[in-house]
């Protein structure tokens, strides 16, 4: 749709600029707060121009938050969750779209329903399973009166405990399903005629074709898992070794000691540190991300 309507153009642009400013103000305030010393930041009103203590505050925050270790943890966990989600989503969508089996639609709806059940809703049972991954099987065996000495498999305080319970993804499955549905049947048939089996077709045709989809999913899922707070807080008691970056923020803003103002400048610096990786990932993948979501690759 190409129209020449100067008034409308002006209004749209004004609206866009206003929204952009509204969106950026909090980030500016974070940055400004992170660049002043303790006293300036606690003045009322807080100055709106940056001060000269930015690098000092960043160094303090990095130190106090143990970010050397914690950033690595977060990258491992967010990376693991992202890869896990992509693999699981692609495989389950492949099964739902390309295979005819009994209960196929039931499976699809079961996955679809979990869209409405985020982790927070099922956190207690999930914790119970994480505490002993084989417990559901034990329960099933007990139901039939069989006693099998299954070992206890504890996922608490481990990367697998941080990653595995988060990788099931209805959103990803759905996104992949929608993409697979747009792949022409003739392509599948051509692959069949060429002698390709399902696994080869999946790996050599579907996966390369869904690259933009994968980038879109990776962006969303990386940011999402980076921002996870509740679950890491639950499964990690060994905070020295397994804490994630988001968990550290809470430690930097000290508890309400009476009469003590919080150390906002360091807290905001820590904030900046924590939000950098997801921003970088988004900037890096956004070109594919947009293409993946509107999926108009010819």
């Amino acid at each position: 749709m190409i129209e020449r309507t100067p008034v409308l153009d002006f209004v749209t642009h004004a609206l866009l600029i206003v929204s952009l400013v509204a969106l950026l103000i909090p980030f500016w305030i974070i940055f400004v707060a992170a660049s002043h010393d303790f006293h300036t930041v606690n003045q009322v009103p807080m100055p709106l121009m940056p001060g000269g203590h930015f690098f000092e505050n960043m160094a303090t925050a990095w130190e106090r938050g143990n970010f050397d270790r914690v950033m690595l943890n977060s990258i491992i966990v967010a990376g693991g969750v992202t890869i896990g989600k992509i693999v699981i989503a692609a495989l389950s969508a492949f099964s739902i779209v390309y295979f005819r089996y009994r209960l196929r639609m039931v499976m699809f709806w079961l996955i679809f329903i979990t869209l409405m059940l985020p982790l927070e809703v099922r956190i207690v049972p999930t914790y119970a399973v994480a505490a002993d991954a084989l417990r559901p099987f034990k329960a099933i065996f007990e139901l039939f009166g069989i006693s099998v000495g299954l070992p206890e498999w504890n996922l608490l305080n481990s990367y697998s405990g941080l990653i595995l319970p988060l990788i099931a993804t209805a959103t990803g499955t759905f996104l992949y399903r929608q993409f697979f549905l747009t792949v022409p049947d003739e392509l599948t048939e051509a692959a069949k005629m060429d002698g390709s089996g399902p696994v080869r077709f999946f790996l050599e045709v579907l996966m390369p074709l869904s690259k933009t989809n994968m980038a879109a999913l990776a962006t969303i899922m990386f940011v999402w898992s980076w921002n996870q707070y509740l679950w890491p807080l639950l499964v990690v008691t060994d905070q020295q070794n397994f804490a994630t970056a988001t968990m550290q923020l809470q430690k930097i803003v000290p508890g309400p000691v009476f009469g003590e103002p919080p150390i906002w400048n360091v807290a905001m610096a820590a904030n900046l540190i924590v939000l950098t990786p997801p921003v970088l990932v988004t900037i890096f993948l956004q070109r594919w991300f947009v293409r993946g979501l509107i999926s108009t690759e010819k």
Binding site: E189, A190, A191, K192, M193, D194, V205, L209
Partner: protein, 373 residues
């Protein structure tokens, strides 16, 4: 020996039968064109041979082996699709060579064969391009290369030319014919375009509503249509078909308005009294004078000739005229048709009536025909 044999092949979707008991024998090296209007079940039939569609009942045999339960890759067929179905993320070379890669051929041999096929199809300069960077005709060639490289026993084409523009279509048609002559592979070619069918086929299978109407060489299908459906479908325009009443004693078909079409009584000795359908080609009409009269409606310009659309005995008729004929709409004109050019069909079933063929034409005919005095 028959390379492909179909025995009472049927296909149903849910309870809806779309292919009704098809029987067909395709000789080794033959090029068969399956011709019919859109939705008549051509693709379904082809896909059952390919193994892309299950066979509801009946048998499909390739080289004497029933293949009903075999996977597509085990049947030794290669297929060219209407929309080419090239892998968008692979280069032309990879598209063509993919089946060899799957078959596990060593890379050096693959490259050699890809190059050979590309050279035959004039694709050598495009080997590194992606399908999106090719024109329609080039994509079509890649699709054919992908089929050719496997050196299959059987080639299957599903309307491969219908996405090309008219000029390219003619060129590709010639190429497919040449390719067939060189490779000699048994070929099933599906199309809804009768010109394509006429120019390509060794034999044409005319389909309608999931069944076969007629199987024959292009000249048989054109010259001796077995049913009014085929008569009307083949040729442009199709056969003029006029309902009338048979008068075997006088050797004429009387039209509702009383005009009389004389037919060859020796050729059609067994016509009964009563309703019958008479057919003749637009080209068989001798325009300008004669015992018959029709009303002119409008003309279609063909350049070298004209098609006059008119009404004869209250029924639509088309006449092919080479002369300059300036007629006003509604004006009558005179014409005649040789009795030998009249073909007769049953008014109810639409089937061709039993005839005695002229000696030259019946030489190949094995079935004896009775002649009653």
């Amino acid at each position: 020996m028959a390379e492909i044999t179909l025995r009472d092949v049927r296909k149903s979707y849910a309870k809806n039968e779309v292919v009704h008991g098809v029987n067909l024998d395709v000789a080794s090296g033959e090029l068969i064109v399956i011709l019919g209007p859109s939705g008549c079940g051509k693709s379904t039939l082809l896909r059952m041979v390919a193994g892309l569609e299950s066979i509801t009942s009946g048998d499909v045999a390739i080289a004497g082996r029933v293949v009903n339960r075999l996977e597509p890759r085990e049947r030794g067929c290669a297929m060219v699709f209407q929309n080419y179905a090239l892998y968008p993320h692979m280069s032309v070379a990879k598209n063509i060579g993919y089946s060899l890669k799957i078959a596990g051929l060593p890379k050096a041999e693959r490259i050699e064969r890809v190059n050979k096929v590309a050279a035959t199809l004039g694709l050598t300069d495009f080997l590194e391009r992606k399908p999106a960077q090719l024109s329609g005709g080039q994509r079509q060639r890649v699709a054919m290369g992908r089929a050719m490289i496997r050196e299959p026993k059987v080639f299957l084409y599903d309307e491969p030319l219908s996405n090309l523009d008219a000029t390219l279509r003619v060129a590709m048609r010639v190429e497919i014919r040449k390719l067939h002559q060189r490779l000699g592979a048994t070929t099933l070619f599906v199309t809804h375009d009768q010109v394509e069918a006429m120019t390509l086929a060794d034999r044409i299978v005319v389909m309608n509503k999931g069944g076969i109407e007629q199987i024959g060489t292009p000249s048989e299908v054109y010259g001796r249509p077995e049913t009014t459906y085929v008569a009307n479908f083949i040729g442009s325009p199709g056969l003029n078909l006029l309902k009338g009443a048979g008068h075997p004693d006088e050797g004429v078909i009387k039209l509702p308005d009383g005009q009389q079409l004389a037919y060859d009584r020796n050729q059609w000795p067994e016509i009964g009294h009563g309703p019958v359908i008479a057919g003749f080609r637009a080209e068989a009409v001798k325009f300008g004078s004669g015992p018959l009269s029709a009303r002119f409606d409008f003309a279609e310009e063909l350049g070298i000739a004209k098609l006059l659309h008119g009404s004869f005995g209250g029924q639509a008729m088309i006449v092919h005229v080479a002369t300059r004929a300036d007629l006003q709409s509604g004006q009558p004109f005179l014409f005649s048709v040789d009795p030998g050019d009249i073909q007769l069909f049953d008014a109810d079933s639409g089937r061709r009536l039993e005839e005695v063929r002229a000696p030259a034409a019946s030489a190949k005919q094995a079935m004896p025909l009775q002649i009653t005095a």
